[in-house]
């Protein structure tokens, strides 16, 4: 039944509606694909029994004429979303045995709409990383390989498991989260589509916190339409998250395929960085040409504070992380290590329970918030954050959406950047600005590099204007005609 795993979410839903196959058949095909792909390490927990049980119930609902918008569709869940009764680790040792007694709002909405859970997906520990190598459960291997090479590549991070699972047809779509680029960079590295919506669109309730003013959930999917289907279900107001926006959620799929004629597309000159491969420059130019052909007006814009976004992020995000992760004290849940005094117990628990990158960020965050440095670093970074948001405010006077590359390179080899934190941080140079400004950003595959690896383009929209983002993405997707797929070797 491997043909069933090749379907897009939209075509699978169509097949289910036409009774061409059942959710149990569709889910079984995916369960088998997941078992056969353990070498990728995309799933850190498989839940086949739960999946088949949910699928059977879904088929029963459909038989009664009670099908929801995602009825019967098997999905993967990033292991940062709490799932009731199903272990949720954030890919850390400190939460290695944590079993939530509640369900995150985002996943509960997917199940409300009929979706089926296949299991929990690997990620960088506490979503801190750009290569999936900080996971306590080991890195995910990208299903894509360079032509004529069998070198293991990163799927990107932090949502590397989500991206790899979608790329390798191990689910019809997956949940993910994005604090500095963690949905879009892995999507670009794996030839998949990922959208980080406007801050506040998706509830953060039940999502393990990293940096609360930046964290947003969103989907990774096979097509722009699939991403729209999933986001429509995931988004919506939730009183349990005080930053959740109380605004209506449109059916985002209606904007995919809509004409983009007359839209003004901004091209920011600051998104040309040193050492960017010529292929990415070319792909970006192709994107401009495609949108011009589709009737868009291309406008040069300037986002002058772009180069300061990453350094500002590496103050704001660690500061929030050091505060958020203070909760892991070994008393109420999670790992507890021994010690002679209470302080020693805390210190030993956290030393043993957190990985090196998590500790590094907690230490930076603690430092920049400590007495004497707060104004110089933390307050300064928040002011720079304002400047970055103002750059976009000015840009919106001239354009309706912005087109950029998603990442400054294609997928790199596992281990290549892991000893140089700043080189790793630079992966997010094009994505982190939208987290700081709270804007929606979508990455879609638009071409292959000379080695046959996928490259992504990013579309950034105005606050709450995912509609335009989806329309522009639909136009780029159609023009690019990207149909690349990783050749199965696993």
């Amino acid at each position: 039944m491997s043909a069933l795993t090749k379907l897009t979410l939209a075509s699978a839903l169509d097949g289910l509606a036409k009774r061409e196959f059942t959710s149990v058949e569709l889910t079984k095909a995916h369960v088998e694909a997941v078992e056969a792909a353990r070498g990728l390490n995309a799933y850190i927990l498989e839940t086949p029994e739960k999946a088949l049980d949910m699928a059977a119930k879904s088929d029963a609902r459909r038989a009664l004429g009670e099908a929801g918008p995602l009825e019967g569709a098997p999905l993967g869940v990033k292991d940062l979303f709490c799932t009731e009764g199903v272990r949720t680790t954030a890919c850390s040792k400190i939460l290695e045995n944590f079993i939530p007694t509640y369900e995150s709002t985002v996943t509960s909405q997917l199940w409300r709409d009929g979706a089926v859970m296949l299991g929990k997906l690997n990620l960088d520990q506490f979503a801190m990383g750009s290569s999936n190598e900080t996971s306590y459960f080991g890195p995910v291997t990208n299903p894509w390989r360079a032509q004529g090479s069998n070198k293991a590549l990163t799927p990107g991070g932090s949502s590397g498991g989500s991206a790899a699972a979608v790329a390798a047809d191990l689910c019809l779509g997956a949940t993910a989260t994005d604090t500095g680029g963690s949905i879009r960079q892995p999507a670009a590295f794996t030839g998949t589509v990922g959208i980080k919506p406007t801050y506040g669109r998706c509830s953060r309730w039940g999502v393990v916190a990293f940096a609360s003013s930046l964290d947003q959930a969103g989907p990774i999917a096979k097509t722009v339409e699939d991403a729209a289907l999933l986001l429509t279900s995931m988004a919506g107001h939730d009183p349990k998250d005080s930053t959740s926006l109380d605004v209506p959620v449109p059916d985002f799929t209606q904007f995919v395929g809509k004409s983009v004629k007359g839209l003004r597309i901004g091209i920011p000159k600051e998104y040309r960085v040193d050492n960017m491969p010529a292929e990415i420059e070319k792909l970006w130019a192709d994107g401009v040409a495609w949108l011009k052909d589709a009737g868009c007006e291309i406008v040069d814009i300037s986002l002058p504070h772009t180069k300061y976004a990453l350094p500002a992020y590496y103050i704001v995000a660690p500061a929030e992380a050091s505060s958020n992760l203070a909760r892991y004290d070994g008393m109420r849940y999670g790992l507890r290590e021994d010690g002679a005094t209470l302080t020693e117990i805390y210190e030993n628990t956290r030393a043993s329970g957190f990985g090196d990158e998590v500790k590094r960020r907690i230490l930076i965050g603690t430092y920049v918030l400590s007495h004497g440095y707060y104004d110089a670093y933390y307050l300064k970074a928040l002011k720079v954050r304002r400047r970055i948001a103002e750059d976009f405010d000015k840009a919106w006077e001239k354009c309706d959406a912005i087109l950029t590359p998603t990442a400054p390179s294609a997928a790199f080899g596992l281990g290549e950047n892991s000893n140089d934190p700043i080189a790793m941080y630079l992966n997010d140079v094009f994505t982190v600005t939208t987290n700081l400004a709270g804007l929606p950003g979508l990455s879609l595959p638009a071409g292959l590099d000379a080695n046959g690896l996928p490259l992504g383009l990013q579309i950034i929209g105005k606050p709450l204007d995912e509609a335009t983002v989806f329309s522009v993405a639909g136009a780029v997707e159609k023009a690019a005609g990207f149909s690349g797929k990783a050749e199965k070797w696993w």
């Binding site: 590496y314 507890r336 907690i362 300064k380 002011k383 304002r386 700043i422």
Partner: protein, 95 residues
């Protein structure tokens, strides 16, 4: 504003993370590298600029002051490293 070994020890203590003595120098160098890269923020003119703490403009909403979830101590303590009779068992902190 270089981070020295003493600063690393102090910050690790504040963060309640035990760092072995042989890691301190290496950590100081690592953190210095990152902070040196961050120093470029000083170039940005932020005079008269309000810090941006949240991109959600609205004030925080108030909710009814009522119990919405509760009365289920077994659930609350189900992930505790140690618990007895639905109580968290913690190390003795008062002599």
């Amino acid at each position: 504003m270089a981070i020295d070994a003493a600063t690393v020890r102090k910050v690790a203590r504040l963060a309640r993370i035990a760092e072995p003595e042989e890691r301190i120098e290496a950590l100081a160098q690592e953190l210095n590298g990152i902070m040196a890269w961050i120093e470029q923020l000083a170039e940005v003119d932020t005079d008269g600029c309000e810090p941006l703490t949240s991109v959600v403009a609205a004030g925080l909403p108030m909710r009814e002051d009522v119990v919405t979830m509760g009365g289920d101590p077994a659930r609350v303590t189900s992930n505790a490293p140690k618990s007895v009779n639905n109580f968290f068992v913690v190390p003795k902190v008062v002599e």
